[in-house]
């Protein structure tokens, strides 16, 4: 789509479907990340501005550096497959004091264990969770559904066709994960588990 009229910008014009200076691209990218209600991915940004995804990725990388360099109270971070502006954790006391918010109720150990099983074994059914945990976890599953941390993932083609569960996007957000591959592998925990004697 590049036309003859392309102006030479102060900073080099980036390659893309539309001619746009890299400074402008960075600026628009920052604005879009700010207005998005949830983490926004580089493809969406690229589509809106009508430039190549690579250009947006470069812009985001530069923005991240800038945020870090100027010791801002904010950070640009990758989460749940997208980018988001958020406060830095070290300011949590002041922020909390202002918002008058208490740390939200933590999940019970039972819910966390159930969530851990679902996160690593997904899609997984209630009977399968029972087998690993050794306890029924109906209320834990209900809590996790209520908090939207897990979602139904269809039924398993087995006796009784039980519902299968998996983690949600909200799970990634609440646990600060880029994607599921960022979860430490279960084998890492093996050492902890058997470590005392082996």
């Amino acid at each position: 789509m590049a036309t003859e009229e392309t102006v030479a910008h102060e900073d080099s014009a980036i390659e893309g479907r539309r001619e746009i200076s890299s400074g402008e691209l960075k600026s628009i990218t920052e604005a879009l990340i700010f207005v998005a209600d949830e983490p926004i991915n580089t493809k969406t940004i690229a589509d809106v501005i009508d430039v190549d995804r690579e250009a947006v990725e470069k812009a985001v990388a530069e923005l991240v550096e800038e945020y870090d360099a100027r010791a801002s109270g904010l950070q640009l971070r990758e989460i749940a497959g997208g980018w988001q502006i958020a406060t830095r954790p070290e300011h949590h006391e002041n922020v909390r004091a202002y918002l008058k918010s208490k740390p939200s109720a933590k999940l019970s150990l039972a819910s966390l264990e159930t969530l851990a099983v679902i996160a690593y074994k997904q899609p997984v059914t209630v009977p399968e969770i029972l087998e690993i945990r050794g306890v029924q976890s109906p209320s834990a599953i209900k809590t996790l559904l209520d908090k939207r941390l897990i979602v139904a993932k269809g039924r398993k083609e087995t006796v009784g066709r039980p519902m299968m569960y998996g983690t949600s996007k909200e799970f990634l957000i609440q646990f600060g994960l880029k994607d599921l591959s960022e979860l430490p592998s279960v084998e890492d925990f093996q050492d902890l588990a058997g470590g005392a004697d082996s």
Partner: protein, 271 residues
């Protein structure tokens, strides 16, 4: 054998104290209101289930998890189970199931080994339990990891809603939201039906009189408005039949000005 005798002789030192201060095997039971239900729930500290208790006992006794002395651990396990019962803590059935499994395992361990079977072919009857325990412990560690991640995340805040969001009061939905909403509607409906029973039913004659009066006083009556007054399904049927009746008797005529438009009733007889 020996176990049963031992259970009976267990001392329950904490029995007179308030349950909140009881210390069972290093874990402090908590009494907490159940968030969803209006009842108090006693949790045995970290012993969510039998596997947790078993793991605790194994660590406590400093036993090699790959070589569990089943008889000893079974005795210990039953001792704590008994203690829980003495403290009147409601115990999930899972604890009893595990007790049965342990006792069965113990008796299998007591059986003389098959002298003909080659040593390496013999499967340790404990293997399955060990796998289960290791698997379970792995996920306990994973839960700890999630806990610390969530703690860090709770220190991070995102911006408040901006104006554009407010024009857009929407809720994100999933499959179970759909079901829950549906159940709420059904529950709401059930309440309405229960109230209906109290109400007096309108007879056909009364309904015809009501329709006559409404048409007469308004000159022209939007039938939708008439039907909306019906407070039950049955009343609605009565209302509908009364319209048919008055049309049949040529007291009213029905008029629809446009396709799918409103239907109005008019007095048909001589004014």
């Amino acid at each position: 054998m020996e176990d049963t005798a031992q259970i009976d002789t267990i001392a329950t030192p904490a029995a007179e104290e308030t349950p909140a201060t009881i210390n069972v095997a290093g874990a402090t039971p908590e009494i907490a209101p159940d968030r969803d239900h209006d009842q108090l729930k006693i949790t045995l500290g970290e012993f969510e289930g039998p596997l947790d208790l078993l793991l605790y006992l194994i660590r406590q006794e400093q036993i090699n998890i790959y070589d569990i002395p089943i008889a000893r651990i079974t005795n210990e396990y039953l001792r704590y189970l008994n203690l829980m019962q003495e403290l009147d803590l409601t115990m999930a059935g899972d604890f009893l199931v595990m007790a049965a499994q342990l006792i069965e395992l113990k008796s299998r361990m007591l059986l003389p080994r098959d002298p003909l079977a080659a040593a390496e072919e013999e499967i340790d009857p404990r293997a399955e339990l060990v796998d289960l325990l290791l698997e379970h412990e792995k996920f306990k560690a994973a839960a700890q990891m999630l806990w610390s991640r969530a703690t860090v995340e709770q220190a991070v805040f995102t911006r408040a809603e901006i104006e554009t969001d407010k024009n857009n009061p929407e809720v994100a939905v999933g499959l179970f939201d759909l079901l829950r909403v549906f159940q709420e509607i059904l529950a709401r409906k059930k309440e309405e039906i229960m109230m209906e029973i109290e109400r007096e039913e309108v007879t056909m004659a009364e309904m015809i009189e009501r329709l006559r009066n409404m048409v007469r006083s308004a000159g022209e009556l939007n039938l939708m408005r008439f039907f909306e007054r019906a407070s039950s399904r049955r009343e609605l049927v009565t209302a509908f039949l009364s319209v048919l009746e008055l049309v049949r008797m040529s007291e009213i005529s029905l008029l629809q000005r446009e396709t799918f438009g409103e239907i109005v009733a008019r007095s048909a007889g001589p004014a």
